[in-house]
């Protein structure tokens, strides 16, 4: 029987041995030992088996043998044995101890190749996991960055993700601004710059809203030494940088759209406010004819005019221009309108009233925002006009004889300085046939394609005299037509407002002149102007 068993012992593909646990030596080994490890039987028996065990497995092997010496058999214990060529073989042991004799009966299987395959499989699985991670991160980065409002935070997040995804040592984004200045965002943010000459670098850039962005991944890492970036890394860097570009552009256009809508709403609101203040009808003044016109520019401005009766039979003529556009200017006009009515009704002298108005406008406006205003108080019986000009364009007094006078008394615009300003009122008389034209700066400041101002062209005065000569009455519509013809385009940069008052000549028929009227024309409705 022993003879038969010995044949199995010699023929077995696995490693069989009998060892003395106490001495730490093999007593007998089968030929599979020599075939697997390259040592001869004599070499294996000549030295302690500890000599063949991998140093890292030494401790656990000692512990296992101590257990066996207490009679506990071992199943599937793995350690590494050194072969004659210096390589280590992974052996899995089943051992049956015989405590009485200190002998160990052991069978071992070489699982080195199996382990190598498993290692290879693990590597492949890790690569697959890495690809899945890259896909996940790419999708999530796209979603995450659109939630971020700050450009720098958005870039930091994208940079952090792409640096980790490409296994780079560090990441860098260079942002070149329109003025040529360059900003740098790094991850990790406290990693020192420089020393990049010997490492691999990939980059991807784009231009967005005048800024040049360059994303860089610096130094490809692997477990043991430096490596080179692969095509997939370049793709990832490019895709993430494009995600950032899309997020930046989307955010810009969204903000622009929101701002546009806000402005539109503001223009609508300002337009409503302005329409409620501007008169829909001018009052009848016995012996006089008047007409007014207002053309708001595309942005609603702060032009204002009005004629209203005062106690004692007098009439107030007002024209004003509040600096600025939009709701704020419209509200200021509203304040001016209310204050003017209150002060004029109270019978305050023009100079004192203008001081009060100036302080009011100073208090309710922000810095650098002022109001120009011309106020005329007309006694229709005598034609006496007392006026105050607070920084407004002087009116044109067109005399019946064909002369133009420019009343020049006044003071600075309202709201510039609270104290220390002087206002001086003036007086003139409107004789029968004389006309008074009040206007805002939209007319004289109209510019032709050559860059010349309408006020410098001499056309304004010529037109006024021509109208006066032919009809006696000034037609504001014709002035607007002339300005449009001069400027060579249909749109005005500023509001245009005109107010004209004519003292009728005795015996002249009212029907032959331009009727008392009020006009407010929108730019879109050019055909009617």
């Amino acid at each position: 029987m022993d003879k038969h068993l010995k044949k199995f012992f010699e023929l077995a593909l696995d490693l069989f041995c009998i060892a003395d646990a106490k001495k730490g030596r093999f007593v007998e080994v089968n030929p599979a030992f020599s075939r697997t490890l390259g040592w001869s039987r004599e070499q294996l028996l000549a030295q302690p088996f500890w000599e063949f065990i991998h140093p890292d497995d030494f401790q656990k092997t000692v512990a296992e043998i101590e257990r066996m010496q207490q009679g506990v058999p071992t199943i599937s214990f793995e350690n590494r044995y050194r072969s004659a060529d210096g390589a280590y073989h992974h052996l899995v042991w089943n051992v049956f101890p015989e405590p009485a004799s200190d002998l160990l009966f052991a069978a071992a299987r070489d699982v080195t190749e199996k382990n190598l395959n498993e290692k290879e499989l693990r590597k492949l699985a890790a690569k697959l996991q890495q690809k899945i991670l890259q896909l996940h991160e790419l999708i999530d980065t796209g979603i995450d960055i659109i939630r971020i409002d700050q450009t720098e935070s958005l870039i930091q997040l994208a940079l952090r993700r792409v640096t980790a995804l490409t296994d780079a040592t560090r990441g860098l984004v260079l942002v070149r601004k329109p003025d040529g200045a360059t900003e740098q965002i790094a991850f990790p943010d406290y990693a020192g710059a420089g020393g990049e000459e010997s490492v691999d670098i990939i980059q991807s850039g784009f231009e967005c809203l005048g800024h040049q962005y360059t994303f860089m991944a610096i130094g490809k890492e692997n477990r043991h030494n430096s490596a080179r970036f692969e095509t997939v890394d370049k793709m990832l860097l490019h895709l993430v940088s494009q995600q950032v570009r899309t997020a930046l552009e989307n955010r810009f256009y969204l903000n622009e759209m929101i701002e546009k809508q806000r402005l539109l709403r503001e223009v609508e609101l300002a337009s409503v406010i302005q329409k409620t203040i501007l008169p829909t009808e001018l009052p009848e003044i016995p012996g006089y004819r008047c007409s007014g016109l207002n053309i708001p520019s595309r942005e609603v401005g702060g032009d204002y005019y009005e004629i209203f009766p005062l106690s004692g039979g007098r009439f107030a003529l007002v024209i004003a221009d509040v600096a600025g556009k939009g709701v704020y200017s419209a509200l200021l006009v509203n304040s001016l309108h209310a204050a003017l009515h209150a002060y004029l009704e109270s019978g305050l002298p023009l100079e004192a009233m203008t001081h009060k108005l100036n302080r009011l406008m100073f208090d309710v406006t922000t810095a650098m925002l002022f109001t120009t205003c011309f106020i005329a108080l007309l006694d229709p019986e005598s034609g006496e006009v007392e006026y105050m000009n607070a920084g407004h364009l002087p009116p044109m007094l067109v005399r019946r004889r064909g002369e133009i006078e420019v009343p020049s008394a006044g003071g600075p615009p309202l709201g510039c300085l609270r104290e220390g300003v002087t206002y001086e009122s003036g007086k003139f008389r409107l004789e029968p046939g004389d006309g008074l034209l009040l206007y805002t700066d939209g007319i004289p400041e109209a510019v032709n394609p050559a860059g010349e101002f309408y006020s410098k062209s001499g056309r304004f005065e010529q037109l006024l005299l021509q109208m006066k000569k032919s009809k006696g009455m000034c037609d504001p519509g014709r002035i607007v037509e002339d300005v449009r013809d001069f400027a060579g385009n249909d749109s005005f940069g500023d509001d245009i407002t005109l107010l004209y008052l004519l003292r009728e000549e005795a015996g002249r028929s009212r029907g032959s002149a331009v009727p008392r009227r009020i006009e407010r024309r929108e730019l879109a409705d050019k055909s009617s102007v």
Binding site: A126, Q129, H136, T163, A164, R170, P188, Y190, N222
Partner: protein, 142 residues
């Protein structure tokens, strides 16, 4: 460099005076910081920065310090880690395997949602423990 915060000790109900400063080890690197402390034969490592190769090696070296030769359970506090690449994660996987081979384990604490997702996909949570706090991780090990 992130330092241990006072509330960390409070959370563990340790008086500050009881901490043996000789047992606190710190490794400072350009982009990564590691601080370690032994607590009832469980090693607590607090990491901060970018967990790349340098970071992974720093954690691995800390766990392999001679002072911690008998340790087979490690709690890794990752609150300060902003991102991790595959090389850094590979070091954690190896650390986790080594601890497992010594019948111990690795517990990960305080990973941000993004980092936790990365660990999940890379298979780190398959064998390592995930804990909400150091206290929970210590309870898990004991």
């Amino acid at each position: 460099m992130r330092l241990f915060r006072l509330d960390f000790y409070k959370a563990l109900a340790w008086p500050l005076s009881s901490i043996d400063q000789r047992m606190v080890n710190t490794i400072r690197m350009s982009a990564f910081s590691v601080k370690s402390q032994l607590c009832a034969r469980i090693l607590i490592i607090q990491a901060g920065g970018y967990l790349n190769r340098e970071g992974g090696e720093a954690i691995f070296r800390t766990a392999a310090l001679p002072a911690y030769a008998a340790v087979n359970r490690v709690v890794l506090q990752l609150e300060g880690v902003q991102a991790a690449n595959s090389v850094g994660i590979d070091h954690l996987l190896e650390l986790q395997e080594r601890l497992k081979a010594r019948r111990g384990g690795l517990a990960l604490v305080g990973a941000s949602p993004g980092l936790a997702r990365t660990f999940n996909i890379m298979g780190l949570y398959t064998h390592a423990f995930k804990a909400e706090s150091i206290r929970e991780a210590l309870a898990l090990f004991s």
